[in-house]
Subunit: 698 residues, 2 copies
């Protein structure tokens, strides 16, 4: 009975007055709660919709006239809101237009396939003259006629299976379905295996009628819906000619040395996407051996591995790659006490079409947020640290704008980058999900308790933690968006999150009309995401000491090393474990707990100067850098984080402890000792920095 | 090193001279090995094919003229092989013909649907004039026109989901896909929920093109393939008018009291099956709310729960039920030493069409086996116990022939029934599977080590135990075939097994042509199954003491009670477990181990008379009867086994400890104490009988 009363009381307390947060003194926390209340009051629930409508009037691919309009609009809104706006231009080597392409069934009976979405009579957006056919940026150019082979998702293991089954793809055109990896790897593996070309389609089992009603009746892909997207698979991220360096304008003062395009790691075979209505015309005529059961898709026949001799396909792509101007827009709300400590939020601005969900729902949310923060500033509540809101260009072509900026600002980010929060298409549905670095997981969880979820009487926390676990599901950061350079190249603790749901990803149907009809007709989700994004930014900005959750490092490291050791033992029975790192993690656990306590009592005593805080916070920022290795990864030295990378064999998936994951992927034991040394040194360095902080605080 | 040598030696020994088996003295075992060698030599590898071809010349539904030909052929073959053949006739209340039926889309646009398989030009079997349209025996008769509702698999939980989703099926026609339960339950639940009629179809995701190539290109259902089958769902098994009693001929001497057909538990709504090509014409026109994701099938559109007002369907069935003569044919090879101890093998003889896989592959195998046993007898190796080979009629309409025979022979089976082995369609593919009572699992495993698997250099054991577990996967006996009455009504330890694979189950395509093309073109599997069936029969027949594996009772009971307790605790946190039964199982473990040792040393000493063995074996036969409860189950008192039943909510699935499973299904705690008492009494009785045996042996 007593226990029940205690639970009721603690619920009550939690709901009405959030528990004091790491890094805050009691006074600061009281102020913070007032600011958070005021922030919520200032959110204009109508502005998300207005911005979204404006941003998505026309398709706005990087380099297009309409994208310049979007860039201008973003700058104007942030400027008017009271932020200092700077544009960061780059000249990036990329295809700004699909060029020409053709898919044709040649035999048994000539038939040219459609490569563009159907016009829907009661959706005027679908008629926009700026909409292009489906295409994959960074395709090779070529014109080939050949037999066809089906390669499932075109993953590494799928091509291995084809080889085992004796299917030769040399000189053939491969058809593969979207899903299972980053599409660029489908092209990479197809080319490596000798294919002459690649057609990528969306299978109805993965995203079409087998999942639910299709557009315009529902939010799933119809037979003409086409996923566009980049194929770039260099062993670094960003502009393909300037690894490690910013692709500053060709006509600018500072000259950047660029690779010769011939040296760039680009595909040479033609690749282009189609919808499943047209794919059916190819797949339905194939005659070879039946696929393994898991390769069967949702079209109404048994899938085959080969088309046979009677079925020949012509695939032609002529795509020009050139230098294209990409422009990031960054608005800064300068910090009142620590302007050189940066809380960075971001979302890209370029799109494959209208981009209503991807990216503009995130852009619209950030624009509304900049206005709300502007009002707070007008009320005299400027955050202590600077809040930067970054709108990145050329993300769709390969996470380029943000990467070039990180490469340009490397030194400043090293010294000033407190956190990067990514909101790519962050209001794309009515679900919620997030991934985060260890030090930021608590921030996500705790702020979610103070955000109301619309359409329910639940908090975001309750909605998100449906399964009632000890923590809601927080993912690991993988590839595919603008956190990559921040987190994996320079080591700024990052997170990525937002609202999601079924949508017509990267297609011409992703318009305001679609959003209104299927994503959030009542436009409630935008301000919900703005609320949590704003609270997280403000909590990170206003803590006396930067509110990283330091204890999480040791807990997560222990778990991930345990997982890695288990995977290694599956192929190496003799492996005795990462002993040095294991010891280092144990020490780190003690040290981080001690430091957390020290910070708490230090703040309680209240006996500190601003200068002292500045010195301590500088060291806080330096902590994550222990995981940044100059040597980087064996699969690509641009990937400098020992802690996380995207999976270099699939592109999207997250690799935690990528040094180890690479050895595991190769089933190699050769470098395990080396990695034990490198990882234990990194954890040891983090431990040392924490001990130094403890000593300084004392 | 030493250990490795030991392993090598033991493998060697195993392979070349099977370890001595339970129930055999050393001498007997040596004899037995000679007999087993000779048995293998006598198998005529060509006879399976000949019998199969003969049996499947024409469709042979129970009561048909062609089925009488099959009955005669079976009797002749066994008679010629040297077995004593007896026919057991019954007059069973069942529909011997589909009658008339019609499925018609009425609105929006009139269309009569096809109800019969397409004729395949290069398969002459498909033109046979005796082939009927698709039908479900024991449908109600009626002519209804109504809107349509899709009910997934028509399981109990599917109808519950429809109710939760607010879909009213009252007065509507339900369309449900095959799979997930016994089809009769689809009709039972549809009728209970107020449906006016039921259409059952096979979805391509479950058995059609989504699984592999379709007939005639491959072994899966094409768009016109129709699963026939009975709908009988009485709360007992067998003839619907004579529960507990044999349906002896109406014109016979002994008069059996029959229920008035009006009292019989029969469906009243019309029910009929179709292929997915025709189902698509209905499902594709539905307009209502989208189905839950797991209800989506393989047809190329999003499935809906309701058809809406504009789609009306007419369903008409006029099916006459009458008394039909069914005849079991049983051949007996009379035992040389213990003719009153019966080893029974069986398979049904009636079919929905040609029945090449189901049942005739099992029939052909048993006919070949009877010839091989006949040759052994000619060589002077008559088995010690009698071997009975039963060919059951009217299985397809509801496991009727075998059940009536068991009811007729109840007293004799109680005294004489050592084991029942079911081989329904037992040579239907190139895979292998089996289910068995605890005392017979070891028999299956050990004999499989002495059988060569064709198309490989593996033994059946190696092939079957692919996963290299401590035991190959042996299932629990569920419903759906002729072991039911033996095992669940009178308590004869039973097993069921054979070779399986993809096939055109219960359709007009299940012909010799289909078998030759897709099941086993080289006709190697028939003699493989004959080999293991024969070895099992001979081992059970020739042991001095019946070779039950007595230790398995306690091990399996402990596991099953543990599982049941876990399931109960999910809804009843207070439940403290089946304490009385737990204690009883502990005692049983000790006793059975002791008895097993005693039998072994008793046989080693060799100091025993045939009369003594007969007395002991009589008690061995009585052991399993401890699980036979006169009161039976609450869901149907005909189900008398406390150990196993078919699931009364789905028909096919196995319920182990059905007394408990029923409480669990109802989430009830009311009768748990009662069941603890009943189960502990049963286990106690078994324990007592074993202790008595120990005492007698001493």
């Amino acid at each position: 009975m007593k226990r029940i009363i205690l639970i009721i009381i603690s619920c009550f307390v939690l709901q009405f007055s959030p528990a004091q947060y790491d890094g805050y003194s009691s006074n600061s926390w009281e102020n913070q709660l007032e600011i958070e209340d005021l922030f919520l009051k200032h959110i204009d629930k109508t502005s998300f919709k207005k911005h979204l409508q404006k941003l998505t009037e026309r398709p706005h691919v990087v380099g297009s006239k309409t994208n310049e309009d979007v860039i201008r609009y973003i700058g104007e809104v942030m400027n008017k809101a009271g932020l200092d706006v700077i544009n960061y231009p780059y000249d990036v080597y990329l295809p700004k237009h699909p060029g020409s392409s053709l898919i044709e069934i040649v035999t048994p009976s000539r038939q040219v396939l459609n490569q563009k979405e159907d016009i829907i009579s009661d959706d005027p957006f679908t008629k926009d003259s700026l909409l292009w056919k489906g295409w994959n940026a960074f395709s090779g150019s070529g014109d080939v006629t050949a037999e066809i082979v089906y390669a499932n998702y075109g993953r590494k293991e799928d091509f291995e299976t084809l080889k085992e089954l004796g299917v030769d793809i040399k000189g053939k055109i491969v058809i593969a379905r979207y899903g299972g990896n980053f599409r660029g790897y489908k092209a990479k593996f197809a080319e490596a295996n000798g294919a002459a070309g690649l057609i990528i389609y969306t299978d109805p089992k993965d995203s079409g009628f087998a999942r639910g009603l299709v557009y315009p009746e529902g939010p799933y892909y119809n037979e003409s819906t086409i996923q566009r997207g980049s194929l770039l698979t260099t062993d670094f991220t960003g502009d393909p000619l300037t690894p490690f360096e910013p692709a500053l304008p060709l006509d600018g003062k500072k000259k950047i040395k660029r690779l010769d395009p011939k040296e760039a790691q680009l595909h040479t075979i033609p690749v282009t996407p189609i919808g499943y209505g047209e794919a059916e015309k190819i797949l339905g005529q194939m005659k070879g051996v039946v696929v393994p059961q898991s390769w069967q898709g949702g079209l109404p026949f048994t899938y085959r591995l080969e088309g046979g001799r009677s079925l020949t396909i012509r695939l032609k792509v002529d795509q020009k790659i050139d230098f294209v101007r990409a422009t990031n827009v960054i608005g800064t709300l300068k910090g009142s006490e620590a302007p050189n400590e940066w809380i960075i939020l971001g979302c890209h601005l370029d799109s494959w079409g209208f981009g209503a969900t991807d990216p503009s729902s995130g852009t619209a949310m950030l624009l509304s947020l900049s206005q709300t923060l502007g009002k707070l500033k007008e009320d005299g509540f400027t955050p202590k640290r600077s809040i930067l809101i970054g709108h990145w260009d050329a993300e769709e072509h390969g996470v380029i704008g943000s990467t070039e900026w990180v490469e340009q600002m490397r030194d400043q980010l090293n010294a000033k980058g407190v956190v990067y929060m990514n909101f790519d298409g962050a209001v794309s549905g009515k679900g919620f999900g997030a991934s985060a670095a260890p030090t930021l997981k608590k921030l996500l969880v705790e702020t979610s308790k103070n955000v109301q979820y619309p359409y329910t009487d639940q908090t975001l926390y309750e909605f998100w933690n449906k399964e009632n676990m000890s923590e809601p599901p927080i993912g690991n950061l993988g590839g595919g968006s603008d956190h990559i350079a921040f987190y994996m190249h320079v080591g700024v603790p990052s997170m990525s999150g937002g609202a999601g749901g079924p949508n017509v990803y990267h297609s011409n149907y992703d318009s305001f009309r679609f959003y209104e009809k299927f994503v959030d007709p009542e436009f409630q989700m935008g301000s919900m995401v703005e609320h949590i994004a704003g609270l997280m930014a403000l909590r990170m900005a206003n803590g006396d000491i930067i509110p990283y959750n330091l204890n999480r490092y040791a807990a997560d490291l222990k778990m991930h090393f345990g997982n890695a050791e288990n995977k290694i033992r599956e192929y190496d029975k003799e492996f005795e474990g990462f002993k040095l790192t294991g010891e280092a993690i144990k020490s780190l656990k003690n040290t981080s707990e001690k430091l957390t306590m020290k910070i708490k009592s230090y703040l309680e005593e209240g006996n500190y100067s601003k200068r002292e805080l500045k010195r301590l916070n500088k060291q806080m920022i330096a902590l994550e850098k222990s995981f940044i290795s100059d040597q980087g990864m064996y699969f690509g030295s641009w990937y400098k984080s020992l802690y996380a990378s995207s999976d270099p064999f699939s592109g999207y998936a997250a690799w935690i402890l990528p040094g180890l994951e690479y050895e595991i992927a190769l089933k190699s034991s050769n470098r395990l000792e080396e990695w034990d040394e490198r990882y234990s040194a990194a954890v040891g360095s983090l431990n040392l920095k924490m001990n130094k902080l403890i000593a300084e605080i004392e």
